[in-house]
Symmetry: C2
Amino acid sequence: MVKTLVAFPEPAEADVADIVLPDYIGFHLRLAQLRTFREFFRTFEGTGVTPGVHTVLSIIRDNPGIRQRAIAELLMVREPNMTRLIQSLQAGHLISRAVDKTDRRARHLVLTDKGRELLDNLAQRMTALEKKVLGSLDAAQRKTLRHCLDQIRANIPY
Amino acid sequence: MVKTLVAFPEPAEADVADIVLPDYIGFHLRLAQLRTFREFFRTFEGTGVTPGVHTVLSIIRDNPGIRQRAIAELLMVREPNMTRLIQSLQAGHLISRAVDKTDRRARHLVLTDKGRELLDNLAQRMTALEKKVLGSLDAAQRKTLRHCLDQIRANIPY
DNA sequence: CGACAATAATTGCTTTGTATAACTATATCC
DNA sequence: GGATATAGTTATACAAAGCAATTATTGTCG
C-alpha cells in the first residue's frame, strides 16, 4: 500500500480469454481492482506516487485536520502502517502535522502547498486513469456501479 | 493470497462515517474489495480456506485440465507463487496433477474427489457470503455491477 | 481528587505475500 | 539441429502488513 515501484508480469501468452470464471462477486471485484491498480501504476509511472499515497493525500486535502486513526480505519490499515506512511508524506513536505488543540494526543493533518501542488499536477493523470477504467460505461452505469460499491461497503460490517 | 489466517483490526472507534471521500472509482473499488475480503475471512473462519484457495479450486473445477500458467495470468500472480499455491493444494490432496499429454512441459490440473467435496461443503458459506455482500441490491443492479466489473477488466490491458 | 481504563500515536520486530533471478525440461522455429 | 521460446520449479530478497509493547494524553468514576 505504500511506497514501492512495482514491475509487471510479462504480457499474457496463454489464452486466458476462454477460461470459465467463477460467478462470485468477490472474485470479479478483485479482478477489476487488480487491473485498476495495474493501470494506476502505469499512469503514475515515474511520479513515485502509489495508490495509497494518492488516496491519503486526497483524503487529507478534502478533510483538513483529519486524524491518522480515522484514515487508517477508513482504509482498513493498521495504525503503525499508517503512521509510517504519514511520516513519509511529512518527510516529503507534502503534509504538515500539528498537535490537535482539543486533544493533544492526536495529530491534526493538513496538506502543505507542496502537497496541494503535487495533487494538482497529478490531476490530469488521474482523469486519464478514470477515463481508461470507466471509458466504456455510460453515466447511468457509472452511477449504478458507484451505488453498488457503496452498498457493498455498507452491507459489510467493519 | 495464499494460506494465512488474518486477524482483524479493532472495531471502528473514530467516526469514519462523515469523512469526505475521494470520487475516484479505483478508491471505491478497493474499499468494497477490502470489505468483501474481510467478510470472506469471517465466513470461512476455521476452514483454513482463503480467497485464493477457494478461487483456484473453483477455477480448476470449472476448467478441468487447465494449466498453472493460465490461472496465474488470470489472477495476476507470478508463476512461482502460483506454483507454491498449487503445490500446497496437491499436498492437501485437493487437486491432482498429471503431465499434459500434448505438451509434457505443462501440468494438467484437475480436482480430486476430496477437493470437490471441500467445495461442496463450503458452498453454503459461499452463498451466505454472496448474500451478505449483495444483499441490498436487486437483480438489475447486480447485473449492471457485473457488467461494469467485466468492462473494467476489458478496458484495462493486462 | 486520584487511580484506572481508554485513546492517539509511535517504535521495534516478525510474518507473509509477492517479485526476481537462475535453472530444468520440453517444445517450436528456421 | 541449434537457437529460441515456453511450462514449471527452486532459492532468495524485499516490501507490505501484522503484532506487541511503550509513551502521552484524556476520560471515568469511586
